[in-house]
Amino acid sequence: MRSPLLPPNTPAAVALAIRLSLRDPGSKDEAVLRLLEDQAGRREFHDWAMTQGVLGLALNSLQRMGWLEGAGPGVVEKILAPLKILRQQARLWNLERDRVLALLRRVNIAPVVLKGGALREVAYRDPVERPVGDLDLLVEKGEMPQALQALEEGGYTPPDPEAIRSFVTGHFHLPLTNRGGFEVELHWGLGQPSAPWQLDPAGMLTRAVSIPSGRGEMRVPAVEDMVVHLCSQNTEDDFRKLRRLVDIDRVTAVQPPDWDLIVSLSRAGGMEIIVGLSLQLAHRLLGTPIPPGTVRELVPSRMTRLHLSLLQPEAGLLSGAGQTMDARSKALSLWLTVQEHRMRHLRNILCHEEQMGLHPSSGPDHKWLSAMGMAIRLGAFHGLLWARGLLRRVGDSPQSTPRLWDHRAGTES
């Protein structure tokens, strides 16, 4: 079951191993096994899967599917070696998560646990399959001072007061760290206030559900909120993290969501394109069942579809390339913005460097020059995109590459 969409490289091998484990656990891909038997291939597999946050899942999947049976002596141990560290890491994070929740419970705050801290309980079979880099907790804005105090008493250090003030006015969460190396992000919002898309934290808090955790309970977002929030996370890393798509796949597999609610939450937040693209990519790369009706509801204009196709988010995910180009990142965020907000977002993009204080001594002339520079870079990048798209169109038969935005592609879950 090798997908024609997956080129034969390491990222594709990782994606394929995960896809098969989720959808067709009885199958086996010899090319993946050969890659893992080779020392350099194994290292590349581990490195890429680690960067993408799917190493634990990939290794667990290989083991569960029995792909490693028949590998040479000592090879299986080498392939699975990172699991030992990842398992220890997962246990420490779970311990700390439960300790932090207990600290907050003592002051009658029941935060909603976002992202990895919740997903490893809700959507994955084994915590090792979902790494956590920090603990994201959503509280009501009015609870922030009390929550901060409780965490400080529990060994966490908040930023200095001046930094707190700038976080509160221009950001949506506060980072706190402790001596052990744990980081908690205390959220009162779900995205940059200046972003052209917004999620409703009050709605998420209201719809949150409780699940058992450790010796108590923890609140997690309703599955629909979780899906939309996970889709929004794709914008933070320019659709280059396979983990985000795997998260969406796992959440929707464990608890079938109300797809109509997902559509309405997406519309309310100006996130139709982001959610639509995320669901399409999860479907194409991992086989996530998405109802065709949902994709149809979220389909953007022909012009937007064309540009998103030219930006090749799928290839970006599977190329194994490192940092994304700044111009590509800006172009992607522009085309992910719904039409009515796009011009405003373009203005923000053009003034971005100035807003971020990258040129503190700049005067009005410099501001104008900086915006012009960005406009030229964006324009040149689009020129390059169109030229590449034209070349592809001439070189390929139309049937050779499935369309990125195909609303018939979804399957009823």
């Binding site: 080498k78 246990r91 779970n94 700390e96 001596r179 052990g180 190396g181």
Partner: protein
Amino acid sequence: MTDARRFRVNMGDVAAKVIDGEAIVMNISNGAYYSITGAGAAAWELLESGRTVTEAAGLLAERYEAPLEIVMADLETLLVTLIEEGLMTEAADRVPESGPGLPAGPRVAYEATVFQKFTDMADMLALDPPMPGFDETPWATDNSGSRTG
């Protein structure tokens, strides 16, 4: 001679859980974490639940095929370490928690306690924790606790 001391986990700074026969304990105040395996993991659970040293040793001797004296000696050694590391403190006022002691069933072979301390928690918690080269995986084969601080 009985040892009626009871202990309590240093709750302000310490979090712990026994999973798959291993007690994972972390001390937030110094950024270290610990792994206790063998009979020590069961001992941790018993002490955490408020049993006296003598009660814990008795239950361990019932569970494992080992003389009470050996179990007691190992338990005392473990306790010294737990106190030195600030993980448990003596609590004369402690009321024992109700609940099962150790799993019922036939006695099992005694596994001496292995206590390991790791001081690299911040590295471990990173999204890309240090992974030794795949042909040199000392932590995969070395049980001597060479990563301890």
